[in-house]
């Protein structure tokens, strides 16, 4: 135990922010390893079941009913898959940005172990956001490959761009939700968030049917929701039907939301962890 006894006089410089954030990411990956297999499996099964049941099963009826015109000239499966992909980004965002954050602050208190070291609340926020990107990359990646097997994409470029669109969609939800979660003392409000936030968005953002089917007064409301932009972007990329100007609007909207959320995270993590 000689090593414990020697006080170190060598001043170790403050590790840079990105380096610290990397250590936080390392922790999250280490902790995630324990649920990796189960999570990989469900990430695969979920889209496979949805695309088979709704895309092929329900889609068979929809396509025969002559609705192809209002879907933009594609099969229901091709219409649905990119929308579900973007929605998967949103759902993953809600799951990684709610309970795990509340647990790390209030239950397991992981973040308090971290701030006793040279890590700062900012490094923790950045590292956690990096982990969210990783999870989004993984879940939407598996989804994309399942959709690829169903023959959804028009081009290899469309495959990758739609995947990226789904990650961006997830991030636009993940950062603001994580910033909110950091202010919570328990998980009570999450049920309401899922029920009145996530579920209506999932159903009414153009994933299952074109927005034009909504009553006219609701359509502008739908345009304001982030998932609508994510779905439209992923679909436009996957099917090669994206109008460039609309694409810029979608990307800008989602990126700004993700950016504001990221800044909010830096603020709420700092406030919560240092008092």
């Amino acid at each position: 135990m000689a090593s414990v006894s020697v006080p170190r006089s060598r001043a170790s410089a403050e590790p840079r922010l990105l380096r610290s954030a990397t250590h936080v990411l390392e922790y999250s990956l280490l902790a995630y390893r324990r649920s990796f297999r189960a999570s990989l499996f469900s990430s695969f099964v979920q889209p496979a079941l949805f695309l088979a049941a709704m895309g092929l099963g329900l889609g068979g009826i929809v396509d025969r009913s002559g609705a192809t015109i209002s879907l933009g000239g594609v099969s229901y499966l091709a219409f649905l898959a990119p929308g579900l992909l973007a929605s998967a980004g949103m759902q993953t965002a809600f799951s990684v940005a709610t309970y795990p954050i509340v647990a790390a602050i209030n239950w397991v208190r992981t973040y308090f172990a971290m701030i006793a070291t040279p890590l700062t609340p900012r490094a923790i926020a950045l590292g956690e956001m990096a982990f969210m990107v990783f999870r989004l990359w993984m879940v939407t990646g598996i989804f994309s490959m399942v959709a690829l097997a169903f023959g959804v994409y028009r081009s290899p470029g469309g495959f990758f761009l739609a995947w990226a669109a789904a990650i961006l969609t997830g991030l636009a939800f993940a950062t603001p939700v994580a910033a909110y979660s950091a202010t919570r003392k328990n998980a009570e409000s999450f049920n309401a968030l899922f029920r009145f936030g996530m579920t209506p968005l999932f159903l009414f953002s153009g994933t299952f049917f074109p927005l034009e089917r909504l009553p006219a007064f609701l359509q502008p409301v739908a345009w304001l929701t982030p998932l609508y932009h994510g779905v439209a972007l992923a679909r436009g990329f996957a099917l090669g039907t994206l109008d460039p100007a609309a694409g810029v609007v979608h990307i800008a909207y989602l990126a700004i939301l993700a950016g504001i959320g990221a800044i909010a995270c830096l603020v709420t993590f700092e406030r919560r962890l240092v008092s």
């Binding site: 414990v4 170190r8 403050e14 380096r19 397991v108 208190r109 701030i115 006793a116 040279p118 890590l119």
Partner: protein, 316 residues
Amino acid sequence: MPDAPAPLIVARGLTKRFGAFTAVDGIDFEVARGESFGFLGPNGAGKTSTMRMIGCVSPASGGTLTVLGLDPASDGPRIRAKIGVVPQQDTLDTDLSVRENLVIYGRYFDLSYREAGRRADELLDFVQLTDRAKSKVEPLSGGMKRRVTIARSLINEPSLMLLDEPTTGLDPQARHQVWDRLYRLKQQGVTLVLTTHYMDEAEQLCDRLVVMDKAKIVAAGTPRELIERYSTREVLELRFPVGVLETLDGQLDALVDGTNARRLERLPDRVLVYAEDGEAASVAAHERGLRPESVLVRRSSLEDVFLHLTGRSLVD
């Protein structure tokens, strides 16, 4: 200035406020290199708030604080890189293995995996948990978890350790194991700063301590000095049946006047008689017609100091 006698921690008028509530009210203290320094006081006295300021995770609201010659306000990460923290509540990841908890913590200090692993093995040996290295933290006993936390706090080879109630909630055997490890660290020259509301812990571990009550320091010194200053060598405890105590005021007061007893402390169920010679006081009490249910003569402790200073006992 590696060997300069400059104190490791200097606080002057240190204050912490949470809104209108003052948790720490202008306290002064210094901690020298190599000493073991304690904050003794009941829950809510301001001990933890003080520790969090020293640990650079809670900015001071007033006064000045220097830790390892640096200012926590501007050099927090640099200070934290050199201290080891054992928090009041365990913050171990219960789903990771014991060893993983240590290694990932070493990464936070920017150690390589190789170095963190080497130190983790060494430290698990130090806290006698080598055989549990691969087991998850969850099933470990409270005492073992504490030892893991202590091992983890040493991963950066700190010269200063902050321990917030290191043995609260542990059974007597586990407490002695923790004390034993802390005592070894102290012998190796590590500076220990700890909070406690246990008298015996303070007497066992602290070279010097301050007694805190209601956000202020009410006394400071070595355990021996404090006992000499605020108590007597011995204490006679007289226990009476319920209801009898209130009828005895006259006889009790006479005890202080006519004998070597210096002072009385009336508790709900017993009377503490502070005297240089407890045995003599006991005889005197008997001569004055006092017939307690039980009689105990013991050495004075920090508990008596606290009782004298605040009129309350430490652990309710």
